[in-house]
């Protein structure tokens, strides 16, 4: 398994001029908290954003996800099994009281026959706890049928994540791998945050790791 296809989002030497332009726009928008709707569907771009959100979340990262996929794009691009993503998650989980709350629609993406503890993110959090380095919280919950049908009835079949209630990434069309990210639209971010908090009590806990 490899993390690269055409280019590696975490290795600037593999970027061409377009990718350099793209990452300049993303990093500039993050730095300025610019209200800019940036397309973020390409798998490498999505993983780069995941790392960016994890590395920059000061208080919270709330995510409504499919299965916390270890690999995306047919296994060509590492997501939660990417060392850069895990390093960013480690950074976030060392922040006191920072909370990463995830609600998943499907079962956790682990090796066949594996348990949730085999997921790279959970393994990381448990290792940090055993080493007494865990300062933040990791909460993973499974969406119940009630949650799924409520979203279906509301015709809101998207995955999203919200960082500190101020920045968001929303998958607008998963079938076409379309998503947008915005670092400077707190109103929309709060709306997605509200949606997540409305769903959260109706999930069933998969794992809860606290310091």
């Amino acid at each position: 398994m490899t993390t690269q296809r055409d280019f590696d989002a975490f290795d600037a030497s593999t970027w061409n001029e377009s990718e350099r332009t793209y990452f300049e726009i993303v990093n500039g928008a993050l730095k300025a908290q610019e209200n800019l709707t940036i397309s973020n569907g390409k798998p490498q771009h999505a993983v780069y954003l995941l790392r960016t959100f994890l590395a920059n979340a000061k208080r919270s990262l709330r995510m409504y996800s499919g299965a916390l996929a270890r690999y995306i794009d047919g296994g060509h691009v590492a997501a939660f099994d990417n060392p850069h993503v895990l390093h960013a998650a480690e950074t976030m989980l060392t922040r006191p009281n920072a909370t990463m709350a995830v609600m998943i629609e499907q079962s956790l993406d682990v090796e066949e026959g594996g348990s949730p503890d085999d997921h790279p993110l959970i393994r990381l959090a448990k290792r940090m706890k055993s080493e007494r380095r865990l300062r933040g919280n990791l909460e993973i919950s499974q969406a119940t049928e009630a949650v799924k049908s409520a979203l279906k009835e509301a015709d809101f079949r998207h995955h999203w994540m919200v960082m500190d209630g101020s920045a968001y990434r929303l998958e607008t069309d998963p079938s076409l791998a379309r998503a947008t990210v915005n670092f400077g639209d707190p109103r929309s971010a709060r709306a997605l945050d509200t949606m997540f908090r409305a769903l959260w009590p109706h999930g069933t806990s998969v794992v809860s790791i606290q310091p």
Binding site: D6, F7, N16, E17, S18, E19, T21, Y22, E24, I25, V26, G28, A29, A32, E34, N35, L36, T37, I38, S39, N40, G41, K42, H45, R62, A101, E139, S141, T144, A146, S149, A150, L151, E153, A154, D155, F156, H158, Y168, L170, T172, D173, T180, N182, D185, S188, A191, L192, T194, M195, R197, A198, L199, W200, P201, H202, G203, T204, S205, S208
Partner: protein, 179 residues
């Protein structure tokens, strides 16, 4: 006498103006990157994110090279033109006495700024147009984020009704976490 005194003084001025213009050009490029047109940035990012890398890459790369190349050509050309005009004028001025209007015209012609500005005025819209033509075809569907408020209300209503039903028939699911 040339309008700026002696020939050396004119050259110094020509170089100084060109230098200032170059610095301003660089500063402007940085400002454009920092406070650039958000819609254009959105479109460019979308074009890069949704298109095949090579298709957009060739456009962006060529446009950038072309632009920076022409900037350099423009700078050199403006300086060369300024020096050439200055040399011509030096000889003209030394033999012909010009009236006020002609003198003003000569003053304008000798300044390298209009020459360089002409290049930039020509290049910038073409560059922008090229990016727009390519990136403008990409549309971003903003409806999901526009509808999230209403969707949240619908979800809350649905879950509340569902919770009421479950409470009444005693099949409530457990809740977890603190979100």
């Amino acid at each position: 006498m040339p309008p700026f005194g002696d020939f050396e003084s004119f050259l110094e001025l020509a170089f100084a103006v060109n230098l200032i213009w170059g610095i301003w050009g660089d500063l402007r490029a940085r400002l454009e990157n920092r406070f650039g047109n958000p819609k254009l940035k959105t479109q460019v990012a979308a074009a890069i994110d949704t298109s095949s890398a090579t298709a957009v890459d060739s456009l962006v790369e060529r446009a950038r090279r072309w632009r920076s190349g022409l900037s350099r050509v423009g700078q050199v050309a403006s300086l060369a033109v300024a020096v050439a005009i200055a040399m011509c004028l030096f000889f003209v001025q030394s033999t012909v006495e010009l009236s006020g209007g002609w003198r003003a015209l000569v003053f304008f012609a000798m300044c390298p700024v209009p020459v360089f500005a002409f290049f930039m005025w020509l290049v910038n819209p073409i560059f922008t147009l090229a990016v727009w033509l390519k990136a403008g075809r990409v549309t971003i569907d903003s409806s999901p984020i526009d509808n999230v408020g209403q969707a949240t209300k619908d979800v809350q209503k649905s879950l509340t009704e569902d919770g009421s039903r479950e409470s009444s028939d005693g099949t409530g699911t457990g809740s977890s976490g603190n979100g």
